[in-house]
């Protein structure tokens, strides 16, 4: 048998096939992408619309609640109420002032030749959670040395801060040195663990 090639001439159809394949491939990919985009858009759009509606409703609810709260606050005289609470807290702090502890501390502190004649605490603002009391002291000392010893001891105790000697006057008739001083008293102060031995012993005696 003889094959006659001239009856079936050679035609190179490969470029056409390849381009066709490429076009179909690109077309299908674009279709898939478009479907995804549009599906996302339309379904997401609905979700966003629903979410927006929910958010709008919540905003309205919040605004209504806020208006109501602001009306309630406007009806309350907060400034006056705060002043009153502050005043009452101050009076309660004065009521709770530990006088017995102060007497204990002072009796361990006073030199033998000094005695107090007047004691007036004024409760002040707490600093770092620690109550602070301004203490006005008046007293009598046998001489100036005894008075200075008292001031030194006040400086040495953690429960007392910033002693301020205001005045001293020699009473010739009674032969005593009358003095007045102010000191900041910290009722809740405790002795530091690493104080000097003399001070630690003194503090322990309190």
């Amino acid at each position: 048998m003889t094959l006659n090639l001239s009856r079936q001439p050679f035609v190179n159809s490969r470029p056409v096939r390849r381009l066709t394949l490429v076009l179909w491939g690109v077309g299908l990919i674009l279709t898939a992408a478009n479907l995804t985009f549009y599906w996302r858009y339309f379904s997401g759009q609905q979700q966003r619309r629903d979410r927006l509606q929910v958010v709008e409703e919540q905003i309205e609810t919040e605004r209504a609640s806020l208006d109501e709260l602001e009306r309630a606050l406007a009806n309350t005289d907060l400034e006056w109420q705060n002043r009153q609470v502050e005043f009452l807290n101050h009076r309660i702090a004065e009521r709770m002032f530990p006088w017995s502890r102060l007497f204990d501390r002072l009796s361990g502190l006073l030199p033998a030749d000094v005695r107090l004649t007047r004691l007036r605490p004024t409760v002040g603002e707490a600093v770092d959670g620690q109550r602070r009391v301004r203490l006005e002291l008046r007293g009598e000392a046998r001489d100036g040395e005894a008075l200075l010893e008292l001031v030194d001891r006040l400086f040495g105790r953690p429960a007392f801060r910033d002693p301020n000697l205001l005045s001293e006057a020699w009473n010739e008739r009674r032969r005593v040195l009358e003095f007045s001083l102010q000191v900041t008293y910290l009722p809740d102060a405790t002795a530091p663990p690493t104080s000097a031995p003399r001070e630690a012993a003194a503090e322990a005696s309190e």
Binding site: G27, V55, F97, S100, L116, R118
Partner: protein, 193 residues
């Protein structure tokens, strides 16, 4: 020859080309119209959500203030009702209590003054009980201790001491104790608080 082969395979590649062209058109339309709209809607939603978050935060802050104010009001009312009272109701009881505590401590008040200070702003009256006694330091400590333990709202304001002539232990002790009363008009004010 070449034209003839493209022509002959037209039914294969032309639909594919049409598909590509149509899809490109659809994609371009999406980018020009819907993508911007979706972004704008997304931005609007984000803005509204931010507004909602701010409002929620503000509402929570206001709620906390209102709750704290209500709690304060309740506590103040409770304190005024339980611990304070009008002078008409409590003055004699308070004076009797201070005298009794002094007596139990071993101190006998010889003279007593009762200065009062009206605290109009708070609907209260501050009443002091100022008295002098003769006694020793131990009796003073007992009295201070009794005051500290007392259920009544009694505050020791000031202590003044002086030695008695010809005596080593005995002291002249002046004490100022104070307490608060609801002013008569303070009852109405307590209602306001």
């Amino acid at each position: 020859m070449s034209q003839s082969i493209w022509w002959r395979h037209l039914r294969f590649w032309l639909p594919a080309l049409a598909l590509v062209v149509v899809n490109i058109g659809v994609l371009t339309f999406y980018r020009m119209v819907y993508a911007d709209e979706a972004q704008a809607r997304g931005r609007l939603l984000a803005r509204r959500e931010a507004e909602l978050a701010a409002l929620t935060e503000k509402r929570q802050g206001s709620e906390e203030i209102v709750t704290a104010a209500q709690l304060n009001r309740q506590r103040v009312r409770q304190f005024r009702g339980q611990r304070l009272g009008t002078e008409r109701r409590r003055l004699t009881e308070v004076i009797a209590e201070v005298k009794e505590l002094a007596r139990r401590a071993g101190l006998e008040p010889s003279s007593i003054r009762y200065p009062a200070e009206p605290l109009t702003e708070y609907g209260l009256t501050s009443r002091s009980i100022v008295f002098s006694v003769d006694g020793d330091y131990a009796a003073l400590r007992r009295f201070v201790n009794f005051l500290e333990l007392s259920e009544r709202f009694l505050t020791l304001e000031e202590v003044t001491l002086s030695g008695r002539q010809g005596s080593d232990d005995s002291l002249r002790i002046s004490l100022q104790v104070s307490t608060l009363f609801l002013a008569d008009s303070g009852d109405a004010e307590a209602g306001q608080s």
